[in-house]
């Protein structure tokens, strides 16, 4: 078995996708607030890359730093350290005023409380960014604004003030405004947090539509149901990003436990067809597939047969760690390409399972299932052998 040195999480992300597709890159971003009680670090060296066309949900508990993270992307706040590069531009090299202009052209922002200007009609609100950044001919602006309002179903309400339409309609208008200057990136902070479920559903539908048309959307939410509709979920806890593989494989852990796991996992990349575990070998890790695929192979009378194929978000090693004993099967990287795994050491795994009973129960059920599958597979192979 070839074990390679564990690469950093950021580097592993770089391996997965070419850098040319990255639209937002956060590098070692630190944000510290100072007050009378002392300093408080909200973001602790965030490395994050968002790709063009991704619909990313940023989730986290209240106070975890998710809105601060979004503020770093939108240029609303200043990082204490590190840099934020958007479309190749370090946005904190500009002053506040220049950044406003840049933001108006490159970024649409949707707020939880909509933040439509109350003295302007919906149409005027949508036209306002065009005025500020000087995009489109003056006479063309009402037409474009009306098209955007039509897109969100508000063409008949265009000449009303925000106070005269429903909250759902206000948020739709805010989305239309965020698209006024046709920015490639939309940042939304709890866009459905203040809406009823029907309106929220319509808003997410709009986002789907925008992603399909090539926009990149970063959305802060704490509604778990929304993460199912995004292409990627970033979990933040105590100012640090949780390993996305950990979050995906062990979703029942609390965010702090996920963060603990994130700190413990090692990332290992195996070349194609490289063995990872040998049947009967002692197992010390809980393996989670980050990218690529692995094959689970049973050896019976010197014959090998593949019993399962595991892809990103799936895991192995839990049977041995929870039941004790040696590996019940061999595992190797799939033949078509390398596999990247996140390996959680036995001690850490056991502690997490002890502390999260629901995770333990869920894994226990999976272990029973796997053992049953193994026994069935074994019997089937034995019958085939006799024949």
């Amino acid at each position: 078995m070839t074990r390679q040195p564990a690469p950093s999480r950021a580097a592993s992300r770089a391996i997965q996708t070419p850098a040319a597709e990255a639209v937002i890159q956060m590098q070692k971003v630190v944000k510290t607030f100072k007050n009378a009680a002392g300093e408080f670090t909200v973001l602790k060296g965030i490395d994050l890359t968002l790709m063009r066309g991704e619909f990313v949900a940023i989730v986290g508990k209240s106070g975890s730093g998710k809105s601060t993270l979004l503020n770093m992307i939108t240029g609303i706040d200043h990082p204490t350290g590190g840099k934020v590069v958007i479309n190749g531009l370090n946005i904190y090299e500009m002053n506040e005023s220049q950044r406003s202009l840049w933001r108006g052209k490159n970024l649409g922002i949707v707020f939880q409380f909509f933040q439509l200007l109350p003295m302007l009609t919906l149409l005027e609100n949508v036209m306002l960014p065009m005025d500020y950044v000087g995009m489109y001919e003056f006479d063309e602006r009402p037409k474009r604004a009306m098209e955007l309002l039509a897109m969100v179903g508000l063409e008949t309400q265009a000449h009303k003030l925000p106070s005269a339409v429903s909250t759902g309609q206000q948020q739709s208008a805010a989305i239309a405004r965020s698209l006024a200057t046709d920015p490639p990136i939309i940042c939304a902070d709890e866009p459905t947090g203040n809406l009823d479920s029907r309106s929220a559903d319509a808003i997410i539908g709009l986002f789907d539509h925008l992603v399909a048309s090539g926009k990149t959307i970063a959305m802060v939410t704490h509604d778990p149901s929304l993460t199912e509709r995004t292409s990627r979920t970033i979990v933040i806890s105590d100012g640090e990003l949780i390993d996305e593989t950990v979050a995906h494989c062990l979703p029942l852990l609390g965010h702090r436990q996920m963060l603990e796991a994130t700190h413990m996992v090692e990332h290992i990349t195996y070349r194609a067809s490289t063995p990872i575990l040998q049947q009967g070998e002692h197992v010390d890790y809980f393996f989670m597939v980050t990218s690529g695929a692995v094959e689970v192979v049973l050896c019976n009378r010197r014959k090998e047969f593949t019993v399962a194929r595991l892809g990103p978000g799936q895991f192995f090693g839990e049977v041995e760690l929870m039941r004790g004993g040696q590996s019940i099967a061999s595992v190797r990287a799939a033949s078509e390409g390398p596999a990247e795994l996140a390996a959680l050491p036995r001690e850490g795994f056991n502690r997490l399972v002890e502390n999260s009973s629901i995770t333990g129960e869920a894994l226990g059920k999976i272990v029973q299932l796997r053992l049953a599958e193994n026994r069935t597979a074994d019997r089937r192979q034995s019958k085939r052998g006799k024949k």
């Binding site: 106070g63 809105s67 601060t68 503020n71 939108t74 609303i76 706040d77 200043h78 506040e96 005023s97 220049q98 406003s100 202009l101 933001r103 108006g104 052209k105 922002i109 707020f111 939880q112 409380f113 909509f114 933040q115 439509l116 200007l117 109350p118 003295m119 302007l120 009609t121 005027e124 036209m127 306002l128 960014p129 005025d131 500020y132 950044v133 003056f138 006479d139 602006r141 009402p142 000449h159 009303k160 003030l161 925000p162 106070s163 005269a164 339409v165 429903s166 909250t167 309609q169 206000q170 405004r177 006024a180 200057t181 902070d189 203040n194 809406l195 009823d196």
Partner: protein, 811 residues
């Protein structure tokens, strides 16, 4: 230990410096203005007359033909007369040296300075006991002559000889000429100097004081008549008789009327500053709504909340008083001192005026409490739920799910107007729309700000209009002084002699000899109602262009007929053209026909016109005159000045006894200058009002920006650069300024009429016709736009400096 709630009040007081400063300045401006004006009013009322009385002013002044000691002695021994002193008063030109400008002075010759008892002189420097070749200067003369004690003055005698006199001292004469704004400065010499100065050693003016009834108008008038009769019976003609009270400065009523106007403006400023306080406190309460909610949540009762905020308001008042009371006291004294200097009386030293002090304290504490009453009561009435959810019923509430509230009618009007314009292809840029609509969002606050600025504007513009009206009035008075040069001689000369000679001077177009008389207007019971100066130009004179209120002007052939100044209407309100007035001239009582009534400044008693032909015949001086009106080819002041000097020299060179050559403009200039002082005061008050207005606007814009920080963050988040944010705020400020200008311009019309009426009746005892000038409107437009821009700059800069995280702070 201080209780937590009072600690909160203390923190509210010192925690937000700019807000505390705004409220304190608003209160202080009002308290200061009131303090200045009441203080000055009291100081002037007390000191003006006391200072006047301190110099033992005359009760009766008589301008007569020459008389001697014997007549003086006779008068002195009359019953009711305490003292009588004679003076010789004549005009003379003096200069500091060959290069100096000639200045005409009223020279007063006194028999014995050591026994001078009436109209005593205060020494300012040097002595008040000049020797025979010495001269004393009244301090007002120093404005035209840069001399000091010990310097030499050149004096021009009537025959053109120039003599030198040493300035022995500078004195103050609060009484002589006290009632005459327009009098030439005075100087004093001994009677021993008269021969040296080519003057006869006789008196031509008598000052009399009375034993009793010094302050009784009826006694004064009757005694004046008695003394006059006595003098005239001895063969001495009395030209002018004036009776004045001892304890009342002749200008007292005028000055008090002017101070009354200033007081009205002071009250207005106070009123405006109270609207400013109401505005600021209302914003403070809306910012404190959450605090009130929390306090109520933990058990505070409404009365406790009220106590806290009233205590806060009182603290604002106390700080304002600490600033405004001392400043007001200083300001009051400075204003009184300025007026004293102009009117020529002395103040009795710096002091605090208890009445002004008490009024300031009441105003400083009561006005803010009254202004804050409504916002504080409303704030304390709020429910915990409303306070904590931040639902202030205004535009800052957060949206909540549920049925949408509807637009107000005004909002519908705004959006429909913009929509309608848009349909016609007129698209207002959205940033401008924001400024325009922001202007009308806080209508209560807008109304208070507009009220303040509008009043300031109306007063400002009105002051300009009043100034023009006053100057126009003075110009109209010029219609009675059309002559370019008035040449006065020391004796009568034949008309044709002077006319023929004057016409030989190049540039002279016309010459008229006028006659003069003084008359007493009598009530039907024979008592004296008024003293009348009768001017008598030729009946066909072109040198008077009267503004007739009713009747007609004089015509050739009119005998025993007058046209009279409207001032007479104060004594005879029912007088009309065609009526008769009983006049006493040269001890002869007759009924005179009033053929017309004309407009005129009533500054130095009433004047009337009659025909030269009739008056000169009555005075046994037909075809002779000592005063000639000369018209020159050009009428500008410089030409008049030049012609005055030429004619003066021309006649002197030919042995004529020229008393003085006055140019037509000089009298009017002095009058205009006096009025300008008044206008300057009014303008200062208007600017003070404007200052209150602009503080109000700064406060309003500051509060608006504070309340709209979230929106400013939104603007930033969608691409607004610093310049755009600043422009949005500043345009709003300037729109408010513009609206206030429009309203102020409209309101300035009634204000102009009111102010003109009050001032003209105070000064001229008659109303003047009102004129409007564009300059006031234009200057105020520029001032208000500038003030608006300046008032908005600070809030705008603050707005542009806000980072979005600060303003959207939603985590």
């Amino acid at each position: 230990m201080i209780r937590p709630r009072w600690r909160k009040v203390f923190h509210d007081l010192i925690g937000n410096f700019s807000r505390t400063a705004l409220v304190v300045v608003s209160i202080a401006v009002g308290v200061f203005s009131i303090g200045v004006i009441i203080g000055a009013y009291v100081i002037i009322s007390d000191d003006m007359s006391a200072s006047y009385a301190a110099n033992n002013p005359m009760n009766i002044e008589l301008r007569t033909d020459p008389f001697d000691e014997d007549l003086l002695s006779t008068i002195e021994h009359m019953r009711g007369v305490e003292d009588a002193e004679g003076r010789r008063v004549f005009t003379m030109r003096v200069r500091t040296g060959e290069d100096g400008q000639w200045v005409t002075l009223n020279i007063v010759a006194v028999d014995d300075f050591s026994e001078l008892n009436i109209n005593r002189l205060n020494v300012i420097s040097g002595t008040n006991q000049p020797a025979d070749d010495q001269i004393l200067l009244e301090k007002k003369a120093l404005a035209d002559l840069q001399v000091a004690e010990g310097d030499t003055l050149e004096v021009e005698l009537l025959d053109g000889t120039i003599k030198s006199m040493t300035v022995a001292g500078i004195v103050q004469d609060p009484a002589t000429g006290a009632g005459d704004f327009l009098a030439q400065p005075f100087a004093y010499v001994t009677t021993g100097s008269l021969s040296f100065l080519g003057q006869p050693e006789t008196f031509n003016r008598m000052f009399v004081t009375l034993t009793e009834g010094k302050n009784d108008e009826v006694v004064l008038r009757n005694m004046g008549g008695t003394v006059r009769d006595k003098i005239e019976k001895s063969g001495v003609t009395v030209y002018i008789m004036r009776a004045t009270k001892t304890n009342e400065h002749p200008m007292a009523s005028t000055v008090q009327a002017v101070l009354g106007i200033l007081l009205a403006l002071g009250v207005l400023i106070l009123f405006l500053s109270s609207s400013l306080i109401a505005n600021t406190l209302s914003a403070l309460l809306s910012q404190h709504l959450r605090h009130i909610g929390v306090m109520k949540l933990v058990g505070a009762r409404r009365s406790q909340i009220l106590q806290m905020y009233f205590a806060l308001i009182l603290a604002f008042g106390v700080i304002a008083l600490l600033i405004a009371v001392p400043l007001g006291g200083q300001g009051a004294y400075a204003l009184a001192d300025f007026i004293a200097e102009k009117i020529n009386f002395n103040l009795m030293g710096y002091r605090i005026v208890p009445f002004a002090f008490i009024v300031q304290i009441i105003v400083g504490l009561a006005v803010p409490l009254l202004a804050g009453l409504v916002p504080v009561l409303n704030g304390s009435r709020t429910t915990v739920l409303r306070a904590l959810t931040g639902d202030t019923g205004q535009d800052e509430k957060k949206p909540v799910a549920g049925p949408a509230p509807s637009e107000s009618a005004f909002e519908r009007f705004e959006t429909r107007t913009a929509h309608a314009l848009g349909r016609r292809g007129i698209h207002i840029p959205r940033p401008l729309l924001i400024s325009l609509r922001n202007t009308f969002r806080r209508k209560g606050r807008l109304a208070l700000t507009l009220f303040t600025l509008t009043m300031a504007g109306a007063i400002f513009v009105a002051v300009f209009n009043v100034q023009v009206s006053l100057h126009d009035y003075i110009d109209q008075i010029g219609n009675y002084f059309i002559a370019d040069v008035t040449l006065d001689f020391d004796r009568y000369y034949r008309l044709n002699e002077i006319e023929n000679m004057a016409m030989q001077v190049p540039g002279v177009v016309d010459v008229e000899g006028w006659a003069y008389a003084t008359a007493e207007v009598l009530y039907p019971d024979g008592s004296v109602a008024d003293t009348l100066t009768v001017l008598a130009p030729p009946a066909d004179s072109h040198l008077v262009s009267p503004l007739l209120i009713e009747g007609r002007w004089l015509q050739p052939g009119d005998e025993q007929a007058i046209t009279i100044g409207e001032g007479i209407l104060s004594k005879f309100p029912d007088l009309h053209a065609g009526d008769t007035l009983r006049l006493s001239i040269n001890n002869r009582e007759d009924d005179w026909l009033v053929v017309g009534i004309f407009k005129f400044v009533n500054q130095q008693g009433t004047i009337a016109y009659s025909t030269y032909e009739y008056i000169s015949r009555q005075a046994h001086a037909a075809n002779r005159s000592f005063s000639y009106r000369i018209v020159t080819e050009q009428h500008d002041p410089a030409y008049q000045q030049q012609m005055g000097a030429t004619l003066d020299a021309y006649f002197r060179d030919r042995g004529f006894r020229v008393s003085q050559a006055r140019t037509g403009q000089s009298t009017l200039e002095v009058a205009s200058e006096s009025l300008d002082i008044l206008v300057t005061f009014l303008l200062i008050m208007a600017l003070l009002t404007a200052l209150v207005g602009s503080i109000g606007l700064t406060g309003t814009m500051g509060m608006n920006v504070l309340e709209r920080t979230r929106e400013i963050g939104v603007m930033r988040s969608i691409g607004a650069v610093d310049k755009e944010i600043m422009r949005t705020v500043m345009v709003e400020g300037m729109v408010i300024g513009g609206i206030s200008w429009l309203l102020g311009a409209l309101l300035s019309f009634p204000f102009t009429y009111l102010l003109s009426y009050i001032i003209s009746t105070a000064i001229f005892e008659s109303s003047i016709s009102v004129h409007f000038t564009l300059s006031g409107f234009i200057i105020w437009l520029l001032v208000v736009l500038l003030l608006s821009a300046v008032a908005s700059v600070l809030p705008a800069r603050n707005a542009a400096r806000l980072t979005i995280r600060e303003v959207l702070a939603y985590e």
